[in-house]
């Protein structure tokens, strides 16, 4: 990453402590409780959030005078994420408590805080390990009327007025985009290599008292998507992928034959292929023409 101007930035990072879903999980069939298959639950700072934090800290290092503040909407147990942020070197931390559950409320609660104070850049994780909704970033940007880039996999350049990032697209494609600041980015977990935080730093951070802000949201929260209150977790059950099934109306012999042929209908003839032979020069030219005709070259 290149920092073009060393003017100080004010950066906010949103963090969440999550149940480590990389470990085997169980869904209690009766209660629907999501449990880790472990003697005691293993919780961790959401990996994508850790990348957001890391990026913010690196930006601060390169532009002296910058400030990084970390925020989390959570109950007391969730302040571990903020401790981690402080241990990594964040200047300040604040925990926000409020009514409502679900990603839209989290975004709304965070927004109440950012309405009061403007940050140059808000960094979020792209998606959490637990709910995996990828909602908080875009909603927060929507409420604050900020531009956003989600799914960032690399940060290229940062200046006071804009940031240049790469976002990951489908099937390995990426695109380089520039966003005006202030704005919001969400980072993928693998976008920034993390720096290790020693246990001593964590212990020292845990001695710090983290202020709590309590916010109440109006019950009819306009400008938010509806979020279902009733949802039942279940053990995963893969969706059935259709594979070819012979019609039950066909004769048994034909059904078996189709299965043996791997799905080809009994009457289907072998595909007609044109086979060329000759010297290498000739056949390679023919092959080239075939590829050219079908626009592969």
């Amino acid at each position: 990453m290149k920092v073009l101007h060393t003017t100080p930035f004010k950066i906010a990072v949103c963090l969440k402590e999550v149940l480590d879903a990389r470990l085997p999980l169980k869904v209690e069939a009766k209660t629907g409780a999501i449990q880790q298959d472990a003697p005691e639950p293993v919780v961790t700072l959401n990996p994508a959030d850790r990348s957001a934090l890391e990026f913010a800290m690196q930006l601060r290092e390169q532009s002296p005078g910058s400030r990084v503040e970390v925020f989390s909407v959570s109950d007391v147990a969730g302040q571990a994420a903020l401790w981690y942020g402080l241990a990594r070197g964040a200047d300040d931390a604040e925990r926000i408590e409020g009514s409502g559950k679900g990603a839209p409320y989290t975004a709304a609660l965070l927004a109440t805080r950012f309405h009061k104070e403007t940050f140059d850049l808000i960094c979020c994780g792209d998606e959490t390990l637990d709910n995996s909704s990828a909602l908080v970033g875009p909603l927060l940007a929507e409420i604050l009327d900020l531009p956003q880039v989600t799914g960032v996999v690399r940060i290229v350049e940062c200046s006071k007025s804009s940031i240049l990032v790469e976002r990951g697209l489908e099937r390995g494609s990426r695109e380089l985009v520039e966003m005006d600041l202030p704005g919001l980015i969400t980072l993928k977990a693998e976008s920034v290599p993390w720096r290790y935080v020693s246990y001593q730093k964590l212990e020292e951070a845990q001695l710090r008292n983290i202020p709590v802000r309590r916010e109440t949201l109006p019950t009819s929260s306009n400008g938010l998507p509806k979020w279902p209150e009733q949802a039942t977790p279940t053990a995963p059950r893969a969706r059935v992928k259709k594979s070819f099934t012979p019609d039950s109306k066909m004769s048994p012999a034909d059904r078996v034959r189709m299965i043996m042929a791997g799905g080809a209908a009994p009457q289907e003839s072998k595909s007609k292929s044109s086979v060329v032979e000759g010297d290498a020069e000739y056949v390679s030219e023919q092959l080239y023409r075939f590829l050219k005709h079908h626009e592969f070259v």
Binding site: R22, G172, S273, V275, L287, L291
Partner: protein
């Protein structure tokens, strides 16, 4: 939930499918969404309509591709700001269109773009939002039974949602089976909508296509694949050179992988990966049944083999009876010569 806006139209429920494009090409996922939308609509006696955002230049080609699969009405929004993806232009466009169409349900892909702007659309309209869905079907009482994936796939969350309350679902790619292309060209109604589309504060600087050398072969557009007939590990350089010239990725049969010539990630076949590239060039592969299973659905299959009896010829669209070591380097040269010729002409 009583206060939720109820679709005022007495018309049958409307399921919209957002046909997503990436860099001017339709995403295959859009057709998967279409399949699910059709199934759902059928179960509630509803209708399916398709939304496409495009520019004037791309309109024709995108419509052509879309019409091969779609028989339902298409809503077209054409604007120069759709030349590239932008959160704001997509959000404002879709919000306006949804206000007109008043759908019960909107299907989007859980892609980077879909996940980027769909939440903002849902927020502006007060729609319900279901991210990362696996499945939606109707449950008893006309309710939608929605399954979404959380906790990295280790948990599924099931929710019931009244069909009357509009909702946006982003669907995982690759879980539904895309319907086959229509046999007779359907001629659906195409409605153009003139809308004001905002420009965003995020500007595209560069498109970075994936590197075929590192790309997962399941995602590759073109594959050059080798088998036991390549002879040894070193000879795979011939295939690599051709792959580079073609912009293709390298793949291999089980025999070549077992012999340690190519890494396992590149193995095609039932014991490896199932691939569906547009072009599959098989060199020195005889075509054991487990291999054929893995590549038979490729768009065009080209075979280079010395053995006329090789079963792989039975699936070939174009076959070359010859020695790959003689044929492929010539082909590579031919393509490279072509490129050199083309480069001065097109570059500015």
């Amino acid at each position: 939930m009583n206060s939720l806006p109820v679709s005022p139209s007495p018309a049958p429920p409307l399921v919209l499918v957002f046909a997503e494009t990436l860099w001017g090409k339709l995403e295959r996922l859009s057709f998967e969404l279409l399949a699910d939308a059709r199934k759902l609509a059928a179960s509630v006696k509803g209708r399916v309509e398709v939304v496409l955002f495009t520019t004037q230049e791309q309109r024709a080609s995108l419509l052509e591709e879309l019409l091969a699969h779609v028989r339902e009405p298409i809503h077209l929004v054409e604007h120069e700001n759709f030349a590239e993806y932008s959160t704001e232009s997509y959000t404002s466009g879709l919000v306006q269109l949804l206000q007109v169409l008043q759908p019960n349900l909107l299907f989007l892909g859980a892609t980077t773009y879909g996940r980027d702007f769909a939440p903002r659309v849902a927020a502006r309209l007060g729609y319900a939002y279901f991210p990362h869905c696996l499945l939606s079907k109707t449950a008893t009482g006309g309710k939608l039974d929605i399954t979404r994936v959380t906790h990295g796939g280790r948990v599924h969350i099931q929710t019931n949602w009244p069909l009357a309350a509009p909702a946006i679902l982003t669907m995982k790619a690759g879980v539904a089976d895309a319907p086959a292309a229509e046999k007779t060209p359907p001629n659906p109604q195409v409605t153009s909508h003139a809308l004001k589309i905002a420009a965003g504060k995020v500007r595209l600087k560069k498109r970075i296509p994936p590197d075929p050398r590192t790309l997962d072969i399941r995602q590759a557009e073109k594959l050059v694949s080798g088998g036991r007939g390549v002879g040894n590990k070193e000879n795979f350089a011939v295939l690599r050179a051709l792959a580079d010239a073609l912009g293709a990725s390298l793949a291999a049969s089980r025999a070549a992988v077992d012999l340690g010539w190519v890494e396992y990630e590149r193995q095609v076949g039932q014991t490896g990966k199932t691939v569906t590239p547009r072009l599959y060039l098989a060199a020195g592969i005889s075509g054991a049944s487990h291999h054929l299973m893995g590549m038979r659905d490729a768009g065009k299959i080209v075979v280079v083999n010395t053995d006329r009896q090789a079963p792989i010829f039975s699936v070939a669209h174009f076959g070359v009876l010859g020695d790959l070591h003689a044929v492929l380097p010539r082909l590579t040269e031919r393509i490279q010569a072509d490129k050199k010729k083309a480069t001065p002409a097109t570059s500015k």
